[in-house]
Symmetry: C2
Subunit: 142 residues, 2 copies
């Protein structure tokens, strides 16, 4: 359905409620969601959203994902305190990926790093490119 | 295996060849790959990579994906001419998502737009936020 936007003019579009009914969730009922810091452009993480997670994200203005490992909604920051305030929600051309432009408080990564993408290929090795900002033990109170 | 990097110092890391053997490809043998314009931070698209696609991307320095619809390697730009030169390859903390920091020639999206994420939620509607840079008919010579 979102393909109808391909030839629409800027500012025109489709009703969100209808679109939500027809998003191409995968066999597990999920779509990948990229979280990007809205002002710096930094890619913070990739997680997954169910329809329910998407609805909660829009309703509350805070990123809510679906944790595949825990099998339930994951309100980002509920244990670490590092919430993501939603600035803008975007969908790609075929509607099968979500981009959450957010304002991330502190680190997005469970390791205490700002972004989860801290492993960089350099020559023959994949090396750590960024240090933690916060000790993860402090993040999770362990 | 990549979790060993969590507590490694900046600049330390793991051999790429060994890591590649142990990346957690999904049941279809794929990982999601985010393409980001390296200098502006713009998120251009999300696609999927197989092990072979990853190896080709690193070997050639040009983004190569796996097309789920066509069931084969997709050398980005092979039909549109809009190639993505690889600037840096990154992996996230659990190694199940790839971030390709690229230099994208022209539009990334098959609609002729710079980014595939041109659909933005505004109130009750999902509207087109950006116009095509190039007529897609010109891109694909139709």
């Amino acid at each position: 359905m979102i393909e109808r936007n391909e030839t629409a003019a800027v500012g025109e579009g489709l009703p969100w409620a209808e679109l939500l009914e027809r998003l191409p969730f995968n066999e597990a009922g999920l779509l990948p969601a990229i979280a990007q810091q809205h002002d710096t452009g930094e890619v913070l993480m990739l997680a997954w959203v169910s329809r329910e997670a998407l609805e909660e994200t829009v309703a509350t203005g805070r990123a809510c994902y679906y944790s595949r490992s825990r099998g339930k909604l994951w309100r980002k920051g509920e244990s670490s305190g590092q919430v993501q305030r939603l600035v803008e929600l975007r969908l790609d051309c075929d509607g099968d990926t979500v981009l959450l432009r957010v304002d991330q408080q502190g680190p997005a990564c469970h390791t205490g790093r700002r972004s989860c993408f801290y492993n960089a290929l350099r020559g023959e090795r994949v090396v750590v490119a960024e240090a933690p900002e916060i000790d993860p033990q402090a993040l999770y109170g362990r």
